[in-house]
Symmetry: C2
Subunit: 322 residues, 2 copies
């Protein structure tokens, strides 16, 4: 079985269906556009800017701001499937200004959904946050059926959007899938916005600078390689079945210290650490149960953490030196 | 045991603590102010208008709009406990404009919570919606531990506020209690804003006009008498313990048809019904499990549905004729 061929495996063909990727110029968006183009699907991309133009050569690019809801009808028109990957805030900035978080994420998403309903979009795929919507659930790995008690504003806003998606499906028949994604990492991640420990670490390590760790380094996260996430997103677009919410991760947990040690082993270099105080909105442990996605999406992560780190490191080196 | 004496029963005394009631001039707010004054507690009330001036004579009234967040610090200053009863939308209007629902309820509530933290408020009591936050949970009565899958926008916004309350407690130590209230009815309910079937029915029945029922009249609801709800609110202000979310209702379910038949029996008159199409955001059945509130708040509903209807009818007659 090939997880990268959901059109042939999962009953519903995506052939010829136009896909819209919101946030196409960003980290995950770049991976998704490439995965969709590999399927020969027509791809329209929307976002404020393109980080890596060469990487998404061939998509139909529409520049715009997610706050400009008036543009949504024209942007979604003619699209079958909308991948909503825009996160206008990060976990850090969401906490600093909750109102701005709602205004920049939840409210534009409602306007987007209205535009989707009015323009005949068939399905919306939303990237939610497997790392935050569950809060401090005590049993690992966490299944999708666990209570959703986010302790961060970022997680609350993601969860709120999830609830509206379910409502739009019931009221207006707008189909949806929610991917609760673990800590994403990989090529094309910039690490400059406070998201992505690995992307923040690597350039500093390559420059022989110390890295910063918030807390004691024992917080455990589930690290998902971006290309694997993109494959899950593509699969979810073709999925038939009653399940609509999927954890997407590796199913494995690693502490920050383990990540640092692994990078040290790969690079053959010692990493210096500056310790910073722990942040109260960070959960202690987060490992996702990905069994449902494996069964329903015919998907599984293809990239080991070590391979993923090597690929990311190679890309980062190339970017910094090239 | 007397459910109306939480200060003596529940360990923490409220004596002398100033209470702020947001929405004090409205239906539930009027009942709550009276219950607090019966406890000899100093009461400050805030809201756009007072519906029944005589009923809350003696409170310190502050007129204002919930959208005017700049006024919040002065309004909460010096208050120990804040009862947040303001719902700027109804289930109907929330559905018509979800963005306005968020803007009028969720966002001002965040600003209110910030003002509470900054001004040393000890506890916030929030009236959530037991009738909508659970959605179509299949097993009755519904316990607080049931999944929260609201199918209405009204329920989604209430649930979102619940999540932020939990976060403010964790981050800033702002204590809170959430009362997920069933369908409230009783004196002081106007029935003019699309809220409250009983309040909407009674004036029409008294005027010998037909009533309107949306759907087939078999939707089942849990009807809670307003004075009983007020007693639960007062108890929750003094509650010590780890439980923070309580269903408040009667624990009994009644169909709209049953309500109409009961009113007919009390009045000795036949009620004419105009049937309207069902609304898709109305859940089919909603009966709350109130066992947790009974145990933890030392509270139970004191008023039978028949007694409550008689009291409400008497009040309504007096209002219309007096």
């Amino acid at each position: 079985m090939d997880a990268h061929r959901p059109d042939t495996v999962l009953g519903m063909s995506l052939a010829g269906r136009r896909c819209l990727v919101l946030g196409a110029g960003g980290f995950l968006g770049t991976h998704l556009c490439r995965a969709l183009m590999e399927q020969n699907l027509p791809v329209r991309g929307f976002g404020r800017r393109v980080l890596f133009q060469d990487a998404i050569e061939g998509i139909e690019w529409r520049q715009g701001d997610f706050l400009d809801a008036a543009s949504f009808p024209a942007i979604v028109a003619g699209c079958d499937t909308v991948f909503h990957l825009i996160g206008a805030t990060t976990p850090s900035t969401a906490e600093t200004n909750r109102v701005a978080d709602i205004t920049a994420n939840v409210i534009p998403t409602l306007k987007l959904l209205d535009a989707c309903v009015a323009n005949g979009v068939r399905r919306v795929i939303f990237t939610s946050s497997g790392g935050t919507v569950y809060g401090n659930f005590p049993v690992m790995p966490i299944p999708e059926t666990a209570p959703t008690e986010p302790i961060s504003s970022y997680g609350i806003a993601k969860l709120t959007v999830e609830k509206y998606l379910a409502q739009y499906q019931r009221l207006y028949g707008l189909e949806y899938r929610i991917l609760r994604i673990a800590n994403a990492y990989g090529p094309f991640q910039m690490g400059t916005k406070g998201q992505g420990a690995i992307a923040a670490f690597l350039p500093r390590i390559l420059a022989r600078q110390p890295i910063e760790i918030w807390g004691d380094g024992h917080v455990v996260r589930d690290y998902a390689f971006a290309a694997d996430i993109a494959a899950a997103l593509v699969s979810s677009a073709a999925h038939q079945g009653s399940a609509r919410v999927f954890n997407i991760g590796s199913g494995q947990g690693h502490s920050l210290i383990e990540i640092v040690r692994l990078i040290e082993a790969i690079m053959g270099a010692e990493v210096r650490i500056k310790w910073r105080p722990a942040r109260p909105v960070d959960v202690a442990r987060n490992i996702l149960d990905i069994g449902l996605a494996e069964r329903e999406l015919n998907w599984r992560p293809q990239t080991s953490l070590e391979d993923g780190l090597r690929l990311t490191l190679a890309w980062m080196k190339n970017r910094l030196e090239g």
